[in-house]
């Protein structure tokens, strides 16, 4: 009766073994999720943050570097102090602070490190370094913050900060992690990929309580961090510093460009702030203070502020007229003030006289010829055709669209098209009398200070420009800058037409901007006044110098400072002198600018 029972038992044993081996095969060989979960358990990824690249000025002067700061870390379980008084004096900390920090650390974990004293300076670090060995459970971690030996060019250089959720989401390369620092504005942001370097990763093993159990596989998978690439900026530290000195207490922009290369020598946005304020532990606090100010120090005015170009635009009108063969140097118009207001000057004037005297009626009449070329017998249609043809030529001067400077948030300005007027007035219901304000740089025209400085460079170069840029060399190599900055942009006007313009601009200083005149240095300049419905007009001046071999093109905007011949022309002149001569020979003019009292 029991003969088959031993076999039943053998079958049971076999079944048990088979079931166990099958289940083991399923979780060990078929399912690899356990491997990943084991790694998440026991292998901790520690990121080795690279040094961010440094930024130098065009002469090799350091603008941005990394300042090491030290955090004193504590592992509460290993930490003990025998002589508390001695400890407090060595580490320069109050007893309450020590107790608070220690308790917080202990609350977090008794076996994982937490900061005991944060942000110790290099000097304090040197003091405590030798004593560290006496205190088990204490060690130092190094971080670095951006630092600025000369606190200038905050807008151009930009700042870095913790990456935000949206940027993280958009990071398709999966390079960034929560808590990483990235460039948030200026060059820091535009050249983030070059500056950031390459993160290193160390894998270490931890036990269930998070205690470090040494490198995983003896560091076989670890990678070292690679420091970021150093950049050379086109900025001239001295000129930038001097420009900020002049713009102290004012609102406005100064942009200086080397015409032959498009390199931005100085770019001042006033009011400005000390870039050191946006580093380290006080970033958040200072950021919200600055952000709440009515003066909007974060507004990067050279590329974000928009003004009507004003009288300076008359030069563009002249060049288009000359190139079109519609007006000639000898073309004269009477200063008919019933067309548009003007000031007292001899009349009628030829082109030279019109530029020199900034004659409004001259351009009212000249612009009509440019627009209404009687291509269509319908004056409405004719105006529409003329405007769009003209707009295309204006845009070649780098207006009405982003120049493509290496900054984020650039505003492209505005040159109106026929569609705009069609929208406002209805198709076929507007003509020259509707748009004549454009002739003198008013109306719907909008430009940025950077575009104005670029115009000055075009006048200096007799018809071409390089896209203004802040990058001079990547890792010391000028050929590694973005290719678009090495392409010459032609504005479509024959260079011969510029001679008269340059002469008139040089001549214009006498009378309109006497303050700008420098002895033995010919400056070609043009004042402008940007009308401001909210208060005093903005003072504008563009210039280049020396006239025969231009080394600097400049645009200066001083808001609410009235006529261009005073604040803007004086500031531009001092900047030119500083850059070309290296020193200031007119202390009284400097005092005049610094006094900031231009309305009288």
């Amino acid at each position: 009766m029991n003969d088959k029972r031993p076999f039943v038992i053998i079958i049971i044993i076999s079944l048990v073994g088979l079931v166990l081996l099958t289940k083991l095969f399923m979780i060990q060989v078929m399912d690899d999720s356990f491997t990943r979960r084991a790694e998440r358990n026991a292998i901790q990824r520690v990121v080795d943050h690279p040094y961010r690249g440094l930024i130098y000025d065009r002469n090799g002067e350091l603008l941005v570097y990394n300042n090491p700061i030290f955090d004193l870390m504590v592992v509460p379980k290993e930490f003990s102090v025998k002589d508390t008084a001695k400890f407090l004096s060595i580490f320069g900390i109050e007893k309450e602070d020590l107790v608070t920090a220690y308790n917080a650390a202990k609350k977090y974990s008794s076996v994982k490190p937490s900061p005991l004293i944060k942000q110790i300076s290099s000097t304090d670090f040197a003091k405590i370094q030798d004593f560290l060995i006496d205190y088990p459970g204490l060690f130092i971690t190094t971080r670095s913050v951006r630092s600025y030996p000369t606190p200038i060019a905050a807008h151009a250089l930009g700042y870095i900060g913790e990456i935000n959720a949206r940027q993280l989401e958009r990071d398709s390369s999966d390079y960034y992690e929560q808590g990483d620092y990235v460039g948030l504005s200026g060059m820091e942001r535009f050249y983030e990929d070059e500056l950031r370097g390459q993160k290193g990763v160390k894998y270490k093993m931890v036990n269930v309580r998070g205690v470090d159990k040494g490198p995983f596989k003896d560091g076989a998978y670890d990678t070292a961090s690679v420091a970021g690439i150093n950049l050379t900026s086109t900025l001239d530290r001295e000129l930038q510093l001097y420009g900020e000195h002049l713009m102290e207490g004012k609102t406005g922009s100064v942009v200086a460009i080397e015409p032959k290369t498009g390199e931005i020598l100085a770019m001042i946005s006033a009011p400005f702030y000390d870039p050191n304020e946006l580093t380290g532990a006080d970033f958040g606090k200072n950021y919200s203070i600055l952000n709440s100010l009515d003066s909007k120090p974060f507004l990067n005015r050279p590329v974000m502020a928009r003004y009507p170009p004003g009288s300076i635009f008359k030069i563009v009108q002249s060049l288009i007229g000359l190139q079109e063969g519609i007006i000639f140097p000898e073309t004269t118009f009477t200063c008919n003030r019933s067309l548009v207001a003007c000031h007292n000057h001899p009349s009628p004037v030829n082109l030279f006289g019109a530029i020199r005297n900034s004659c409004n009626p001259y351009y009212h009449q000249a612009f009509r010829r440019i627009i209404n070329q009687e291509i269509s017998s319908n004056t409405f249609k004719d105006t529409q055709i003329g405007l769009d043809a003209w707009r295309e030529k204006v845009m070649k001067f780098g207006l009405g669209g982003k120049l493509g400077v290496d900054m984020v948030g650039e505003y492209g300005g505005d040159v109106p098209s026929s569609q705009l007027y069609d929208r406002v007035y209805g198709e076929g219901r507007w003509k020259y009398s509707t748009i004549y304000s454009l002739s003198i740089g008013q109306g719907e025209l909008q430009v940025t200070p950077l575009q104005m400085a670029n115009l000055a460079a075009i006048f200096a170069n007799k018809g071409y420009y390089y896209t203004p840029h802040l990058i001079k060399a990547v890792d010391g190599d000028p050929t590694r800058i973005p290719a678009k900055f090495r392409i010459q942009n032609d504005v479509g006007v024959d260079p011969k037409h510029f001679d008269l313009i340059q002469d008139a601009m040089a001549e214009a200083l006498y009378g309109t901007a006497n303050r700008a005149i420098i002895q033995d240095l010919v400056i070609a300049g043009k004042t402008g006044t940007a009308q401001n419905p909210h208060g005093e007009d903005h003072s504008v001046f563009v210039a280049f110098a020396p006239k025969d071999d231009p080394k600097i093109a400049i645009a200066v905007y001083v808001e609410n400072a009235g006529w261009g011949g005073r604040a803007a022309a004086s500031t531009a002149s001092l900047m030119i002198e500083k850059y070309l001569r290296g020193q200031i020979t007119r202390p009284q003019l400097e005092e005049y600018v610094l006094a900031n009292n231009f309305i009288y």
Binding site: A38, N41, A42, N207
Partner: protein, 424 residues
């Protein structure tokens, strides 16, 4: 007497070899479970578990020598006194022993402690062998069934007082031996049906589905068999009892202590509470599952030695093996256990006395149960119950009790030619 009649030459060497293989592999794994690469200590270091286990192994060898040197009649003669001695010890344990985690498992002096519950296994096996070898002890008779169950249940009740559910459960494995010895088959079918129904009732969220299933089977059985009112009534009654039971088991479970409830629920859904009750099973599966086919290599595991798996050198020692030696290592060890179990069947069947055969099947039953339940719980096939893996797990009591259990049988087997055949 010829030399090949000496007991030593009749020792079943394959079994002895498998035993030592398991003990030594276990010892290496105990070392791996506590190995710390940053403060590596020798496997022989007595301050760590592997060093201590070596002492237990040494003592086991001494125990083996004593057993092999003893007179084979001794076990039969001492069976009942030894059984009674351990019953008294178990009775005294709750009063004399040391309480750990609400359980009183061990008694002893100073650091020398033993767990009577472990040793009572071989004593019970001997006592059952002694009782059942009486002539005409037929397990199909109710009286004899009650005697055998009584001998088995006495230690179970005392162990449940400690309380140690896991160890108490082990004794029920003796039903395998009872089966071989003629315990009626219908009880097993009933028991297995009961277990299957319980699992279904617990595993299926809505008992209504189960009730519908049972009802459908009832209709099927009634419709295909011969039509009779009596048959229909019997099947209907059984179906109703099953449905009633399936509804009541959830109620019964809800009356269990919370930690046992949780252990049961985690079996059906290990992700129920991965950081709480499910922690052991989850981490254990991660450790074993991450081993892959070939394992991470000896001492290269991370899950067990860094304490992610609790009890990693005792009840969860299989995790270290699974992690560091992978499926292949698991195959080798499971293969060794199965070899041992097959061998025990062969050895038990060749005994000339019922005493030795009953004892042999008891040994097999207990080792099979431990092996099955311990590995099943590490891979989430069975609720976590605190029973060790024989010969493998760290601990003197466990190693010694299994050594005594197994080697008494090896000794009996070696001496079988000297026994007078009394098989009935």
């Amino acid at each position: 007497m010829r030399s090949n009649d000496l007991p030593i030459s009749r020792v079943d060497w394959p079994t002895v070899l498998v035993y030592f293989a398991l003990v030594i592999i276990g010892w290496f794994n105990i070392y791996a479970a506590v190995f710390d690469g940053q403060a590596a200590k020798s496997i022989f270091d007595f301050s760590i578990n592997s060093g201590k286990q070596l002492v237990w192994i040494g003592a086991s060898v001494a125990i083996i020598l004593v057993i092999m040197a003893a007179d084979h009649r001794l076990f039969e003669n001492l069976a009942l006194p030894v059984y009674l001695f351990f019953l008294v010890l178990l009775l005294l344990t709750p009063f004399l022993g040391k309480e750990v985690n609400g359980q009183v498992l061990s008694i002893g002096v100073g650091s020398f402690r033993i767990q009577p519950g472990e040793f009572a296994k071989f004593a019970t096996a001997l006592a059952l062998a002694k009782v059942m070898e009486r002539p005409n002890f037929d397990l199909s008779q109710t009286k004899n069934q009650l005697i055998a169950l009584g001998v088995m249940m006495a230690p179970v009740i005392l162990i449940l007082l400690q309380p140690d559910t896991g160890t108490a459960m082990v004794y029920f494995a003796l039903f395998i031996m009872f089966y071989r010895e003629g315990f009626p088959q219908r009880y097993y079918i009933l028991g297995l049906g009961f277990i299957a129904l319980s699992l279904l009732a617990l595993g299926i969220e809505n008992n209504l589905y189960l009730a519908i299933g049972i009802g459908l089977i009832f209709l099927l059985l009634v419709s295909i068999g011969k039509r009779s009112w009596k048959r229909t009534l019997v099947f209907g009654a059984i179906a109703l009892v099953m449905i009633g039971y399936s509804y009541s088991i959830d109620f019964v479970v809800s009356k269990l202590p919370p930690h046992q409830q949780n252990r049961i629920m985690v079996l059906f859904n290990p992700d129920l509470d991965p950081l709480g009750v499910g922690w052991n099973v989850t981490q254990s599966k991660i450790a074993i599952g991450s081993g892959g086919f070939l394992g991470k290599g000896y001492l290269q595991g991370t899950q067990t030695k860094f304490d992610f798996v609790p009890e990693q050198h005792t009840d969860f020692i299989f995790c270290t093996l699974g992690e560091e030696f992978g499926w292949l290592g698991s195959l080798v060890v499971i293969g060794l256990f199965m070899t041992l179990l097959y061998r025990l069947v062969v050895m038990a069947e060749r005994q000339k006395t019922r005493f030795a055969r009953v004892y042999g099947y008891s040994v097999l039953s207990i080792i099979l149960f431990h092996f099955m339940i311990n590995i099943s719980m590490t891979i989430g096939l069975f609720p976590v119950v605190g029973i060790p893996l024989p010969f493998f797990s760290y601990g003197g009591s466990s190693l010694w009790s299994f050594t005594i259990l197994l080697f008494i049988f090896i000794k009996m087997d070696a001496s079988r030619s000297q026994q007078l055949g009394r098989l009935g």
